[in-house]
């Protein structure tokens, strides 16, 4: 009889405890969600509040990005590329290192700009306040924005003057960094690896074709272009080059990429005067005035040098590189 009572008491206790923990965890998620509706966004003297964007999100965004922000809105099936899943806290257009969260300003600019070559329109018709509120709302979907901070933004030094030397040096950087493996020797998006590229959802994705785009997803300015290859487009094959490009090389590359685009520019004019030919991946790139650009992959010996962690301790990355170890330590 007594053992029965004890067993019974134990059973009740355990059940009660389980019931309680279930209850409290349900309350917890609701609580967390409510907490997250308190998410703010700050750009200049604008302050956005997630709770203030509820209506607008439902009105303008839900059809593509979904009620839960998971990118599964009712229109999503028809779209390519797919709408962003905000719960992952992963974004293409950032000023911050690969693997880190974007700044509020990055998201705010994205809403104003829209993303070319996708169904994501510009939201400039909405007021500044409505857009900054939506930024806070986008952030509230991912718990990452509660814990982590955005990475340190890429530092962009003042833009130097466009010169023939810089354009030629930029072409050598394009060759050395093997942008052409994906983007093609002429930047037409048809490099040897282009056909096999997939995004994180394993959907085929095309590298940018510089010849038919005046605008990029992540901006139009020279500074935007600089940022694009320094940060990479997370969730796509487009990697970050921040660890391996010095600021002056980066500007040279920007100038060279401009020569490939369709619109008239000083860069294009100079390239025409120079009679600049597309790169030949099997030859030595035009020597660049930058010492770093002189180690040419095409002339290096075919056998790889033996590198072991002990023999070659990680040398410090270039001073401008965003952070040697950004993605993981936060």
């Amino acid at each position: 009889m007594r053992t029965f009572m004890i067993r019974w008491a134990l059973l009740v206790t355990v059940t009660a405890f389980l019931g309680f923990s279930a209850l409290s965890s349900a309350q917890m998620t609701r609580y967390e969600q409510d907490q997250r509706l308190g998410t703010e966004a700050h750009v200049g003297n604008l302050t956005g509040h997630a709770h203030a964007a509820k209506e607008n999100y439902r009105r303008y965004c839900v059809g593509c990005h979904g009620e839960e922000g998971d990118g599964e809105g009712e229109n999503a099936v028809w779209l390519d590329p797919k709408p962003r899943n905000f719960t992952l806290g992963q974004f293409k257009c950032r000023s911050t290192p690969t693997g880190t969260l974007p700044t509020d300003e990055d998201l705010y600019n994205t809403l104003g700009r829209g993303l070319v070559n996708s169904n994501m329109p510009s939201w400039n018709p909405l007021s500044n306040q409505a857009r900054i509120d939506l930024v806070a709302y986008v952030k509230h979907f991912s718990p990452k924005f509660q814990g982590d901070k955005p990475g340190p933004p890429v530092q962009i030094p003042p833009e130097p003057e466009v010169t023939a030397e810089r354009i030629k040096a930029g072409q050598a950087v394009f060759q050395k960094l093997e942008c052409w493996k994906c983007h093609g020797v002429e930047g037409r998006g048809n490099g040897p690896s282009a056909d096999t590229l997939t995004d994180d959802q394993n959907r085929p994705i095309k590298p940018f074709n510089f010849h038919d785009g005046t605008r990029f997803k992540c901006g139009t300015s020279d500074q935007d272009l600089y940022k694009i290859f320094m940060t990479g487009l997370d969730g796509t094959p487009m990697p970050s080059f921040a660890d391996n490009v010095k600021p002056d090389e980066a500007w040279q590359l920007v100038f060279y990429l401009r020569t490939l685009q369709p619109m008239q520019s000083k860069e294009k004019q100079i390239a025409r005067q120079l009679g600049l030919k597309p790169i030949n991946p099997n030859s030595t790139p035009t020597p660049s005035p930058q010492p770093a650009a002189s180690d040419t992959p095409a002339t290096a010996p075919a056998t790889a040098p033996e590198t072991s962690p002990a023999a070659s301790p990680a040398s410090p990355p270039p001073a401008d590189s965003a952070s040697p170890n950004p993605p993981q330590r936060k």
Partner: protein, 245 residues
Amino acid sequence: MKTEYKYRVLALFSALVLFSIAILISGRTVDAASGGSITGKVKLNGTAPHQRGIDMSKEPTCAAIHKDKPVTMENVVAGADGGLADVVVYISQGLSGNEGASSEPVSITQKGCQYIPHVVALDVGQHMKVINADQTSHNIHPQPKNNPEWNKSQPPGAPPFDVTWANEEIAVPVKCNIHPWMHGYVAVVKGPFGVSDESGSFKLQGVAPGSYTLTAWQETYGTQTQKVTVAAGKPATADFTFTAK
């Protein structure tokens, strides 16, 4: 009001019960990560599935490295005597939580357009060096679920870079978008671990005496677990067998 009070008392009581159970359990493991070890062999029962050959002709510098020995996929790497390589063996239950990560970095090297080793294991917070020994650019693109995803280019001659992982995850697939055949794993574990070699042998070092659940993970066959007890000063053994599918 009254019922709520009752529930509170119950909740307090159950918390106490759980607390004492926790104390009992934690008292059983010894915290000092002293010398014990677990060794064993991972075997493959049956014939390993055919591993597709890899055509690297698109990357001549890599194709040249392999011209004498064609490369295949490495989804199942079985040795001559039935040993199964690249299996990560780690402690999934029973750790005290006080095991510190090794200060020795591990490394993953891109060589001949392959990841060497194909499977890297390391502790949460342990440093990993990423090395490019090839004469071609690679982009290192892990696809984690519990850690931030990133994607970095590493041109030939670029210095190694350092990475740490904040969260346990077994295992993070790693790929190179430029060379779609490249494919490896980083297993981020907590506490002692071992990775089996070509003969299937593995060793976990620095295991404090105690009772543990040991898990073996293989990329194609998934996981297997077994209990193991480590006594002070006596190396424990544990073998695993996966069945070929």
